[in-house]
């Protein structure tokens, strides 16, 4: 028996990962891997047919997720994961489409697409790994960098106000919004399960340590310490008013499920509306 055939040597995530692409490029201590583990776990627990799941990523550290998951997976351009996913979902409505990307990708360069997909209630699950900076390019300041934090292009501290992702998502029309840290493995898993099962636009923000860049510049500790730091700073307040949960520099992190409401998806609304207006002449789409 060869070593790799021995059961105890096999990775439990093997069926889910492209093992021929491992080792991955993420730094030791990075939280993206744990979010991927939660995603894999969510898929396993939900018993969803993996052939029906597609992952779309943009560019950046988290953008590399699409390359490691053994699913139909698309590594698109910077900021455009959501419109790519929109086309994919509308072309094949049977797919469960997950956008897996970072804060810079989804809320910096791609912010406009995020608010419009939320407004339309496009049936997508967006998993946004928020590490508070542009990590792939060396730790530049981002739309999520807290006031006062250091980044490579805010060497004297950030003076720009940052986005609160759940607040933005709710205001734009998302029907499911949650925030966790990467150490809330089981809760992230549960949120992903709920979001994927829910028709409509979902955002799961996961606060994740960027040990190499953000943490180093802000003296937040390394590896596990940082994971634990975020965890310790977190307080769970389900249903918290999203207007009150801004993230401040080294302040508390309000986590939980904030929004979970019902609204017709883009395709449901389209079909219902067209049937009402055009009756039998309308060719119903997606069934």
């Amino acid at each position: 028996m060869k070593n790799e055939d021995r059961r105890e040597d096999r990775n439990p995530m093997e069926g889910f990962l492209r093992m021929d692409r491992i080792p991955h490029i993420w730094c030791p201590g990075c939280g993206i891997g744990t979010v991927v583990t939660s995603f894999a776990d969510a898929l396993k627990k939900s018993k969803i047919d993996l052939d029906d799941v597609a992952v779309v990523s943009g560019i950046g550290c988290t953008g590399r997720v699409a390359g490691y998951v053994k699913l139909d997976s698309f590594h698109s351009t910077h900021g455009r994961a959501i419109p790519f996913a929109t086309g994919l979902k509308l072309a094949n409505p049977d797919l469960n489409v997950v956008v897996f990307s970072g804060d810079g990708d989804i809320f910096g360069i791609g912010g406009n697409h995020f608010i419009h997909a939320a407004r339309r209630n496009m049936d997508l699950t967006v998993i946004c790994v928020n590490n508070f900076n542009y990590a792939m390019t060396g730790g530049q300041v981002a739309a999520t960098t807290p006031l006062g934090a250091n980044a490579s292009t805010s060497p004297y501290g950030n003076f720009e106000f940052s986005f609160s992702l759940p607040y933005l998502a709710e205001a734009a029309g998302a029907t499911y919004v949650a925030r966790w840290t990467a150490l809330h493995l089981r809760r992230v898993t549960k949120s992903i399960q709920e979001a994927m099962a829910k028709p409509g636009f979902s955002l799961i923000e996961v606060i994740t340590p960027c040990v190499t860049l953000y943490a180093r510049r802000n003296r937040l500790g390394d590896g596990l310490n940082l994971l634990k730091y975020y965890y310790d700073k977190s307080v769970i307040e389900h249903g918290a008013d999203t207007r009150t949960i801004d993230i401040s520099y080294q302040g508390k992190l309000v986590c939980g499920k904030f929004v979970d409401k019902e609204k017709p998806t883009f395709l449901d609304a389209m079909n219902e509306h067209m049937i009402k207006i055009l009756g039998d002449k309308y060719v119903k789409y997606g069934e």
Binding site: R18, D20, R21, L50, D51, D52, A54, V56, A66, G67, K70, L71, D72, S73, F74, H75, S76, T77, G79, R80, I82, P83, F84, A85, T86, G87, L88, K89, L90, A91, N92, D94, L95, N112, H113, H116, F266, M270, M274, L278, K281, Y282, V283, K284, Y285
Partner: protein
């Protein structure tokens, strides 16, 4: 295969070019349209949005052209034939993801109803100033296909052809029309579905675990699958190997990237459509495309009346450029005259291929209106001296 009759509005119609593009798309089997409003192209989107509920498909007005083109790529990988329409400023915004479509080898069709530029330029008035952008607009090395219709009928016909070429070569195809053709109303005959030949996507049908997204078939074009069919494949805008996995080194770049151009270059003879008239004994050949070829007719008639030997060559395909034909002609004729509504774009290709063997004269027009035929005639006369 034959067109799906659901999308074919068989009959004789009085349509403008923009409408005819939408009808061409529907006839070709396009069932996904994502677009952003921009003059002078909006009628195509309006027509598609009006018609698609009765055909079965999706029209979505996106938040911008970045989203439109990217949604098309997603839709193509979701299994649909997809198109959009735009004009200069929107075309500029699409450029990055046109590169993604080329890199992922994604079939899709973009119509550019050209207006005067640069920048906001002349939103409501004609131009042919995006011809080089169509070829070179995105970064890196790649080839695309660009067609140029000169009438509403041809807007319909060439949109179908654009889809067929795009599916055959797995490449974005541009329909480079302009405001004049886009807003010109003429008779458009839409044939019965069984007379319309459409190319089906090159679907992979082998064993699932053997599928490699970028393994070449005999013809140099890889097979395609769609998301949801159980292949669990990966594709990326990064330089990649046969598996679609990123490989960031010079060797993979040298292996993967030339192919994106070569699949078009090597098939140029099959792709290129040109229309020639009285070229055999010609001393001067007028080369034109789109609306300018219709204006040229008058100039050519006048020149012939004056006893000059004038041939015409109309580019229905602008990219890939008919290099061979221009090289052949350059050996036999005295000069090429190239009128176009820009300050010198396609003329550069003519000049390059003429290689000094025949003179090349440009007849520029800065846009906003078409050439005065006498301006073209004057240059023909000069060339004949």
């Amino acid at each position: 295969m034959k067109a799906d009759p659901k999308g074919v509005l068989t009959g004789s119609h009085y349509l403008d070019g923009d409408y005819a593009i939408a009808e061409g798309g529907l006839a070709a089997g396009c069932r996904f349209f994502a677009g952003y409003p921009i003059t002078p192209s909006t009628e195509t989107a309006e027509r598609f949005s009006e018609r698609i509920p009765f055909v079965g498909g999706v029209f979505i007005q996106m938040e911008d052209e970045l989203a439109s083109i990217t949604a098309l790529i997603g839709a193509a990988w979701g299994g649909k034939k997809a198109m959009t329409v735009t004009s200069g400023p929107g075309f500029s915004l699409m450029m990055e993801n046109i590169g993604l479509a080329c890199m992922m080898e994604t079939p899709l069709v973009i119509a550019n109803v050209q207006r005067g530029g640069p920048s906001t330029g002349l939103p409501t008035l004609t131009g042919q100033q995006d011809m080089m952008q169509a070829k070179w607009g995105s970064h890196g090395d790649y080839e695309i296909i660009a067609l140029s219709p000169d009438s509403p009928q041809e807007c319909f016909d060439l949109t179908i052809e654009a889809f067929n070429l795009s599916e055959t070569y797995r490449v974005p195809v541009f329909l480079m029309t302009d405001e004049c053709v886009g807003h010109m109303h003429e008779k458009v005959i839409i044939p019965p579905a069984e007379e319309i030949e459409v190319v089906e996507r090159k679907w992979y049908e082998g064993p699932k675990d053997k599928y490699l997204p970028y393994k070449l078939d005999k013809d140099g074009i890889p097979f395609m699958v769609k998301a949801g069919d159980g292949y669990r494949f990966h594709t990326t805008g990064l330089t990649h190997d046969e598996r679609g996995y990123p490989v960031i080194n010079a060797e993979c770049q040298a292996k993967t990237i030339p192919r994106l151009s070569d699949k078009i270059k090597d098939n140029a003879d099959k792709i290129i459509m040109i229309e020639e008239d009285q070229i055999d004994n010609a001393e001067i050949v007028v080369i034109s495309y789109g609306i300018t070829s219709r204006v040229s007719i008058r100039a050519v008639q006048l020149a012939r009346k004056a006893g000059m030997k004038i041939g015409t060559l109309r580019l229905k395909t602008v990219w890939p450029f008919p290099e061979k034909r221009i090289k052949q002609l350059a050996k036999k004729i005295k000069a090429f005259v190239v009128p176009e509504i820009n300050y010198g774009q396609v003329v550069l290709e003519v000049e390059r291929n003429a290689g000094g063997k025949a003179a090349t004269y440009h007849v520029p027009h800065m846009g906003g209106w078409v050439h005065d035929p006498y301006d073209i005639l004057n240059v023909i006369k000069e060339a004949a001296k």
